[in-house]
């Protein structure tokens, strides 16, 4: 297209935006003096701003198209090349490991707390990644299982004094049971239908927690949930936060290990095959319902364990922590990071949780930045930060 054509297009876009934003950006009723202010300068800003953004936008789209054409030959992403290169990868892991170990001693308690939250989301993201990334089931009610885990610990501790280390597996197990019970009737649905139904289930669980006062103490929630004690010793506040930090780090490592093993197993292959082609998969003797339920249940189990940690971290839970917004964030971490890729999901979760924390200064614009980042990602890197090219099995002759 010619340069004048480009300019004409951008002018039209900016005119359209000026028109759209006119009522909110230009007109202001000054209620004190009872006059209408006309802020024409704002309109000029918007016009010029959109003009350049729309030029940039189209330039980037075109560049992306050109890249897409020549990328075919080399289908490993930059990040994957690093992972495959042992010389870079091992020192990188060692360095990251060292950083993770010293983190709570180097930074403030506040930072450590934020990091714990972020790592909880890493765990949630990795769990949801089993469901979405590996098995291809779009679950929008994932936060329900997070809630099941958190309430399991809170309630069992309140009524029976259950300790953290028992609550952790039990919370996971209860979430797994919930996952299987909820999953069973809905797994014959596909794609968007499954998404809508799971979304409904997520809301139902939250509404039950909100309204069943005798059981869950309703919106006022459950306070005084104990942090995990170290060998029966009650730690100081900072000590217990550091301890919890190491617990969640350990759990994240455990999660990575398990998912890695699952991915390269008979079960993992069945998930991937199921995502590729359901009918062929069944014709190969794979039980569709059972394979899906496994993914759903295992995903739920991880959410449940993350829930227990969450309850221990905040020491107070109420239904407001388990809204659909939470499900959306977890989903975003998976999609943004790169579906099916462990490193992708981890970077996605860290980015999505840490970024808003450090953007608090711009808190008014947080949501706008957040949304803009997501939209830009979807357009320019639809495969996520780490575009997952699955590590396939390489045959070695014996």
């Amino acid at each position: 297209m010619t340069a004048t054509g480009e300019i004409k297009k951008s002018v039209l876009v900016s005119l359209w935006f000026m028109f759209l934003t006119f009522p909110i950006m230009v007109i202001r009723v000054n209620t004190v003096q009872d006059v209408v202010e006309w802020r024409w300068l704002n309109m000029a800003y918007i016009g010029i701003g959109t003009f350049f953004i729309s030029m940039l936008w189209r330039y980037m789209i075109r560049r992306k198209e050109r890249e897409g054409k020549k990328e075919k030959t080399d289908n490993l992403s930059f990040a994957q090349k690093i992972i495959l290169d042992k010389k870079i990868f091992i020192p990188l892991v060692a360095l990251t490991g060292l950083f993770i170990i010293v983190f709570p001693h180097m930074f403030s308690m506040y930072q450590t707390n934020i990091m714990i939250s972020a790592l909880i989301y890493v765990m949630l993201g990795l769990g949801l990644n089993i469901v979405i990334g590996l098995a291809g089931l779009l679950d929008l009610g994932y936060v329900a299982f997070f809630a099941v885990g958190a309430y399991s610990y809170a309630l069992l501790n309140l009524h029976y004094g259950l300790v953290f280390w028992l609550a952790l597996p039990l919370g996971g197990f209860l979430a797994l049971i919930f996952g299987v019970i909820l999953g069973y009737p809905v797994l014959r649905l596909r794609g968007d239908y499954l998404a809508i139904v799971t979304l409904g289930f997520g809301e139902i669980i939250r509404l039950v927690l909100e309204n069943w006062n005798e059981f869950s103490f309703g919106p006022s929630g459950i306070p005084n949930i104990p942090k995990p004690p170290l060998f029966g010793v009650d730690l100081s506040l900072s000590g217990s936060i550091i301890y919890l930090y190491y617990i969640i780090v350990g759990l994240v490592i455990f999660t990575i290990f398990v998912i890695n093993r699952l991915e390269n197993s008979r079960i993992g292959r069945a998930w991937i095959a199921l995502k590729d082609d359901e009918i062929a998969c069944q014709a190969m003797g794979i039980d569709k319902a059972r394979t899906k339920l496994r993914a759903f249940g295992l995903g739920a189990m991880w959410a449940g364990m993350a829930g227990v940690i969450f309850a221990a971290k905040t020491t107070f839970i109420n239904p407001a922590s388990f809204t659909i917004w939470e499900s959306v964030i977890i989903l975003c971490t998976v999609v943004l990071g790169g579906m099916g890729s462990i490193t992708g999901v981890i970077s996605g979760a860290l980015l999505l949780i840490l970024l808003p924390e450090y953007l608090r200064a711009f808190s008014e614009f947080r949501m706008i930045i957040f949304g803009a980042v997501l939209v830009l990602m979807m357009v320019f890197r639809p495969g996520g930060i780490i575009n997952n090219v699955r590590k396939t099995y390489k045959f070695q002759k014996t």
């Binding site: 699952l262 008979r266 014709a283 099995y393």
Partner: protein, 262 residues
């Protein structure tokens, strides 16, 4: 001896349309049988019915791999596969994000059993099973003659090799009866010839019986022991290639079809 597959009076109706209409077909041990008929005659639908993808409106499906006869009606596709009926698809349905070897490894799913715990702990039994799967998958690739593509993504294979991979994948389920839906479609004459040899080899060396749907008459006539001809869901003829060649009903059905196509 009882037929290994016996379909009795089967009907499959989609609304008002009877895609299969009171069809009887029997396949015997060690046989290469062909199911032919014009486009839309209901051949693929027949496969879908016996493999459990569709539930036939009425009729019975029996298998008799050993002494005992079993009824297949209403079983899920994965159970049917487990019982020893494997199939390929007319419109190739490979697992596109997996390699050739992995595709065949999936075929071993029904004869292996490692679960979630096995996957996580990777104990000796699981490791042995994984090795078994890999070895078996590779040896099948060798038999089918596509082992040179072992680590390629399935989608990157030439068309003829994809069709062969479908057969390899089906063979991994250890079937007693192999159902091939237009295995030669889109192949050049040379590929078709080697497919001919492959099918005979599978029957002789792997001890599977074969039922194939095919439009390539040369292939059908040279391969088949027995041919079943369907048109509009009804069986119009059955017999050896010689009998079928000279059957007036078959000639009519085919000529009619061809004049429509042209």
């Amino acid at each position: 001896m009882k037929p290994i597959l016996e379909v009795k009076n089967m009907t499959m109706a989609f609304g008002g349309l009877k895609a299969i209409d009171s069809l009887d077909i029997s396949i015997h041990q060690g046989e290469i049988a062909a199911l032919i008929g014009p486009n839309g005659a209901g051949k693929t639908t027949f496969f879908n019915c016996i493999t459990g993808i569709y539930k036939p409106t009425s009729g019975d499906i029996f298998i008799c791999p050993h002494e005992k006869q079993e009824r297949l009606n209403g079983l899920k596709p994965n159970i049917v596969t487990k019982k020893g009926l494997a199939r390929t698809f007319q419109n190739i349905r490979l697992f596109s994000s997996m390699t050739v070897l992995e595709n065949v490894m999936i075929g071993c799913h029904s004869i292996t059993k490692a679960g979630v715990l096995g996957a996580i702990f990777k104990n000796a039994a699981t490791k042995a099973e994984e090795n078994f799967i890999v070895e078996k998958a590779y040896s099948i690739l060798e038999k089918i003659g596509i082992e040179m593509y072992v680590d390629e993504l399935a989608t990157n294979l030439p068309y003829g090799a994809q069709r062969r991979l479908e057969i390899a994948r089906a063979m991994a389920t250890d079937p007693f009866l192999l159902l091939l839906d237009e295995p030669a479609a889109g192949m050049n004459p040379m590929e078709t010839k080697s497919l001919d040899d492959l099918i005979i080899k599978l029957r002789d060396e792997e001890n599977v019986s074969i039922l194939l749907i095919e439009h390539d008459m040369k292939l059908v006539m040279s391969l088949s022991d027995n041919i079943h001809v369907v048109d509009y869901g009804k069986k119009i003829a059955e017999g050896t290639p010689e009998q079928i060649k000279s059957n007036p009903d078959v000639i009519k059905a085919y000529l009619g079809d061809e004049s429509e196509d042209a």
